[in-house]
């Protein structure tokens, strides 16, 4: 499973939607209903699954699915 599939899979599980419903341009809060508890779970599961560390400053910049992918891809490369 590549990074994108992992991220989409985690998002789908937490947002309780099918993987096929998730689009890159979707907003996390308005589009997927990621509230504070879900955001904490999302960040935790991303860190665990991808073995990366996400700072609060980076987390605050995540507004869309694409933002997450961009961030975790950069973190994986770094």
């Amino acid at each position: 499973m590549n990074t994108e599939e992992t991220v989409i899979g985690i998002l789908a599980k937490i947002a309780e939607v099918d993987v096929s419903e998730i689009k890159l341009e979707m907003e996390l809060v308005a589009g997927l209903g990621i509230d504070s508890p879900k955001a904490l779970q999302l960040l935790f599961e991303l860190e665990e699954a991808l073995k990366i560390e996400i700072s609060d400053e980076q987390a605050a910049q995540m507004e869309t699915v694409a933002d997450i992918l961009k961030l975790v891809t950069n973190e994986k490369i770094a």
Binding site: S36, P37, A39, L40, Q41, L43, F44, E47, E48, E53, I54, S55, D56, A59
Partner: protein
């Protein structure tokens, strides 16, 4: 996760001094568990992670109480210390007491701190200390983070508090309580409760209020 900034020498000295003062005072206090004795015994023999909750201004006394009654008896305990210089002192003292520390607060690195606490519970089977009005208040107002942690970790919250008639109050936002020498300290353990994984609508707020009210009732003097 490792903290990159090293505490200053001064922070180490202050931590040693403060710890010595607390130990000296603790030896003089008359301590009684006036409510929730069964909960206390349960915690002493418990091997599963729990979330120990009390107000920030009770930390002075509870830091020693938790060390003597729980950590020294084998409880693995993790606490969050803020990333300030005061937090450095708290971190050093906690480590000297045998506890584990993650850095963060509600104001700086809070979410990351909560994730590290969650990791401690789920991956390391550690109980944690939660100070629901920390690290900057307002006093006696629980933040939602404690409830969210209980929700995600699926471990019970154990509210606890104490009261004492003879004490000093530090002029800080939380009015830290320092029982005077030979003071009687009356400890109360509330009923533990769990937070369901799935919460609907206002339920998160309802649990937050439940925790806040319970801690305030337990701490009434």
């Amino acid at each position: 996760m490792p903290d990159e900034r090293k505490p200053s020498f001064k922070a180490h000295l202050l931590a040693i001094l403060l710890r010595s003062i607390i130990r000296l005072l603790y030896a003089s206090w008359s301590i009684e568990i006036v409510s929730g004795q069964a909960r206390f015994s349960e915690l002493q023999s418990n091997v599963k992670p729990v979330l120990l909750c009390f107000w920030h201004n009770r930390m002075f006394f509870f830091s020693r109480f938790l060390e003597e009654e729980f950590v020294d008896r084998g409880m693995k305990l993790t606490q969050m210390s803020s990333q300030s210089q005061d937090g450095d002192i708290g971190m050093i003292m906690a480590k000297m007491a045998g506890a584990h520390v993650v850095r963060g607060s509600s104001n700086r690195g809070g979410a990351q701190g909560l994730r590290n606490l969650l990791r401690a519970v789920l991956r390391e089977n550690s109980s944690t200390i939660l100070l629901p009005d920390g690290s900057q208040g307002p006093i006696y107002k629980a933040k939602a983070g404690s409830i969210v942690l209980a929700q995600l970790a699926q471990v019970p919250l154990y509210p606890m508090s104490y009261s004492t008639e003879k004490c000093w109050r530090v002029a800080s936002w939380d009015k830290i309580i320092i029982p005077k020498p030979f003071a009687k300290v009356l400890i109360k353990f509330g009923d533990p409760f769990e937070v369901p994984r799935k919460l609907e609508g206002e339920q998160l707020e309802e649990y937050r209020i439940k925790l806040e009210n319970t801690l305030n009732e337990l701490g009434m003097e």
